[in-house]
Symmetry: C2
Subunit: 219 residues, 2 copies
DNA sequence: TCATATTTTGACAAATTGTCAACACGAAAA
DNA sequence: TTTTCGTGTTGACAATTTGTCAAAATATGA
């Protein structure tokens, strides 16, 4: 991600090679992403990915232990991309309304810009989840998102803005599910963007808002 | 499903054979279900399914055009099972509260009784969806569920019980997403069943209830 | 230019998936 | 009883997909 202008002679060897190496990986990942989205997991062969990436077939297995690992890396990359966008947006939000609307908006824009990517990533995350060599299962970014919502909710409760009879973990997960509607549904079907986002935001906020608080919705 | 006691000589041939045929299919489907859930889609080979079902390898391909089709049939079967349970339950419900709580409860019981089945079915539905030979894509049962919620919501709006600024289609989908939290999450994690169901029900009802209506929640 | 280290490659091996000619079995006809 | 016929089953085999690795290509520093 950073431009490499001048490098010391000492580093030049590994630096250039690392860049080349990283390049191959990125090209493969980009190709994989395109094909997984276009044709689905099954109709995408490691061969196809390699060819589209412009590298030899064997190179694929230098960067991914197998096809499944490649898919998981694709999912991870897509999720991290959205994650970065969401975090950036959340940093600018003051109210719960802004937070909910912001997350939905960012997700929707991403879906428009990258059709099918989030849908595949979301579905794949569940179907493909795999245990680590050490026996543990990596907590998915989905769980992380749910946990973040849980925190937001817990803070809202302390401030008296959110019903205090909620278990933040559970409701955090519920909010996540609603927001993920944007990712899994077909954007063409939902019609007007503003209409869709407003509806979902209202639903979530009304579900959260403690008595007397909810009337202030200004959407 | 129906007992065959006496059959006319005329029917006897095809009747017995049909039963045998249906048996093979059911055995395969049951085996597939067990293995897909236990090991996941990838680590389940058509061979394994056939062996567990106690039929020859070739028989598998008599009933499923390929492995993917077998998985889709598994998904369909699981969804139809839950669907029947949910419909039966809904028929007994008078209030929205009962409906929401009922659907959640039925789903949760099913998940406890059939660990992993709904999770696999839900994820698979999205990842594996395939176009029909005739070009159309079969509307998934998930869409049907969303549509049912939409109807419920529309009726609630007419009765003045639900916010009338909602688009029923969108909020129907949102409610569906929340209820599907039961299917996708790990039941062990949620802890107390009552606690979990009550939280989700409250969230949904508070999100739906028109002003002045929501205070009557008696959960 | 040479010696060394790193990355790439595609022919090959392994595994999985899918096909089909031969077979098994019950029912009706000869 | 024996033969014929239709249906369902089977596993050896073929096709495809997945994964490996010794050899080759490329880069680096002396």
């Amino acid at each position: 991600m950073s431009l490499q202008t001048k490098i010391t002679p000492q580093d030049s060897r590994s630096a250039r090679q690392d860049k080349r190496k990283a390049d191959s990986r990125q090209r493969l990942l980009a190709a994989a992403r395109q094909l997984f989205v276009e044709r689905g997991y099954h109709d995408t062969r490691p061969q196809d990915i390699s060819r589209l990436a412009g590298v030899g077939h064997g190179t694929f297995y230098l960067y991914f232990s197998d096809k499944q690992a490649c898919f998981q890396d694709f999912v991870e990359q897509a999720q991290e991309e959205v994650d970065a966008l969401i975090l950036a947006r959340l940093a600018t939000c003051k109210t719960h309304e802004q937070r909910v609307y912001g997350v939905l908006e960012v997700s929707m824009d991403f879906v428009k810009e990258n059709p099918g990517v989030l849908k595949a990533a979301w579905a794949g995350h569940q179907l493909m989840s795999r245990d680590n060599p050490d026996g543990t299962t990596t907590p998915s970014i989905v769980d992380q998102w749910a946990a973040r919502w849980a925190e937001v909710i817990a803070r809202g409760q302390k401030a008296g803005l959110i019903w205090d009879d909620y278990d933040p973990r559970i409701i955090g997960y519920a909010v996540l599910m609603v927001t993920s509607a944007v990712s899994t549904g077909d954007p063409e079907v939902w019609g007007d963007r503003e209409h869709f986002l407003t509806n979902l935001t209202r639903f979530v906020l009304r579900g959260l808002a403690a008595p007397g608080v909810g009337n202030a919705l200004k959407i």
